[in-house]
Subunit: 224 residues, 2 copies
DNA sequence: GCAAAAGTGTTAAACCTACACCCATGT
DNA sequence: ACATGGGTGTAGGTTTAACACTTTTGC
C-alpha cells in the first residue's frame, strides 16, 4: 500500500454500481432500464440503473439508494454479481462498476423516480449503453444458475403463491418447461415451501393451495 | 451519472485488488501472504498480496502486476471473487478492493518480489490484516465449490500428473477423502483428462500413467 | 355436464456409493 | 518374495425422468 501523501494520485477512478433488476411481468422476465443521455456518446439509449458510490456508503447501500432515487424501488433482494473495470467502459471517465443482481416481485415505482425508467423483456433487449449488454448477460446466467440451488425465487414472487406460480417462475427464468409432478416432488423434498390454509380461486377451476417459502433468508438448497 | 465538472468529488476511493493465491505444498492447501506494516494500525501482521489499480490497467491486469512485482509470480490462473467495499475496511483511506482467487501449480518466486512473502497452510491462518480473514474464507469456499464442476484443478497441477495426484488435489481442497474407483470413473466419464503414453516410476511400485487436462481453458463440466 | 386448472404415483433407466483384489515395479 | 502404490468391476440403493388420470370448482 502507498503512503498517505501519494494516495491522492491513485484516486483516479469513480466507483459506481449497476443494478440488473429483474421482475416477472406477464409471464416474461423483465429488467428495469433507465434512459441514458450522455452528450456525444449516448443519445437516448437505454441502460441499467446505476450510479456512483458515495463516501458514506458501501456498494450495497449505493444500490439501494440508486434504485430508490432513480426508480422508486425499495427493499429489493440484491446480490453482488461482478465488478467491471475495463478502462474504456465509460467513455468519459474511468468508472469501475460493481454490478448487482436484484429481484423484485412487483414492478413498482417505475415512475416515482428521478430518471425515465421502463421495464423491458430481457429477450428483447440489445444495444444498451456502456457495457450493459454484457452485464445483463452475466446477470441472466447467474440467475438461471442460482435458482436451481437456492431459494431466491421467493424474491420474484408475492409472499403467498401457488405451486403453479412457482413453477412458472422457474420456467420463465430457465426458458424451458418443467414436469409438474417432478417439480412438485423436488420442491416438496427440498422443504423449500410450506402450505398455508388458504386457497385461491382463479376462474372456473379447482382452487389452488397457497404456499409460503420456509426461509426468508437466502439459503442454499438443492432444488432442481 | 454526474457532470464532468463535479466528477472529482466522487473520486474519493482508491480501487485495489487483493489476490488469494493458492498452491498445494506438502499435501496441504497453502496461501501466499505478505508482510503488512501500516504504522499505527498493523505491526508486522500478515495479509494477502494486493495493491492499487492504476489508471492504465483493469483489475485483472493489476492482479498480474502485483503478483509479479510483490511475489515474483507469473502466469497464475485467476478469477474474480468478490468486491469488498465496507467503509472502514482499510483504517487509513477508503479502499474498495476487488478480490481474486488465484491458483498456481508451483510456489515459485516467493523471494523474487519486493515484499516479504510466505506460503502458509490455509488451516493455520488467522488474524490477517484488514478484512483478509473474511476474503480468505470466501476464496476457500469458492475453490471448494468450483472444483466440483469446473476443470480448474489443472491450475494447481503440473502439465502432466497421475490420477492419484489429481485425486489428492481434490481431497486436499475438499478436506475429505474420496473413493479411488469412483473418482476415476467420474473423471473418465467427464472427459476431464486424457492419458499420455508416459509412465512415471515412484519408488518400489507399479509405474503410473501420466495424464493431461483435455481443455486448457476454464470450462464447466460436472465432475463430483 | 363441461371447461379449466389443481393435484397426485409408478416404472424404468441412470446414477451413486460402498467395497477388495490383482498388477507392475524396486529392493 | 515382499513391500509399495497403480489400476480395475459389481451389486444394492437412490435418484431422476417420463408418463395420464382424477378432483374441484365456475359457468
Amino acid at each position: 500500500m502507498a503512503d498517505a501523501q501519494s494516495i491522492k494520485a491513485f484516486r483516479f477512478a469513480v466507483v459506481a454500481i449497476d443494478a440488473v433488476c429483474f421482475c416477472i411481468i406477464d409471464g416474461q422476465l423483465n429488467v428495469l432500464l433507465g434512459k441514458v443521455n450522455v452528450k456525444p456518446f449516448y443519445k437516448d439509449r437505454w441502460g441499467l440503473i446505476g450510479g456512483i458510490v458515495l463516501p458514506e456508503e458501501d456498494a450495497d447501500q449505493a444500490v439501494e439508494r440508486h434504485l430508490h432515487d432513480k426508480a422508486g424501488l425499495e427493499g429489493v433482494y440484491k446480490e453482488q454479481l461482478y465488478t467491471f473495470s475495463t478502462i474504456k467502459r465509460d467513455p468519459r471517465n474511468r468508472v469501475i462498476s460493481v454490478a448487482y443482481l436484484c429481484l423484485t416481485p412487483e414492478p413498482l415505482g417505475d415512475r416515482a423516480g428521478a430518471v425515465e425508467t421502463e421495464w423491458r423483456p430481457v429477450r428483447s433487449i440489445s444495444d444498451l449503453a456502456y457495457d450493459h449488454d454484457e452485464i445483463l448477460k452475466a446477470a441472466v446466467e447467474r440467475l438461471q444458475s442460482r435458482i436451481g440451488y437456492t431459494n431466491i425465487a421467493q424474491y420474484l414472487l408475492p409472499k403467498e403463491f401457488t405451486l403453479t406460480d412457482l413453477q412458472k417462475t422457474y420456467e420463465i427464468i430457465l426458458d424451458r418447461t418443467l414436469d409438474k409432478r417432478n417439480f412438485r416432488k423436488k420442491v416438496s423434498d427440498a422443504q423449500l415451501v410450506r402450505a398455508t390454509q388458504k386457497k385461491v380461486r382463479a376462474g372456473a377451476s379447482r382452487p389452488a393451495l397457497l404456499y409460503r417459502f420456509v426461509s426468508k433468508q437466502p439459503a442454499v438448497i438443492e432444488i432442481l
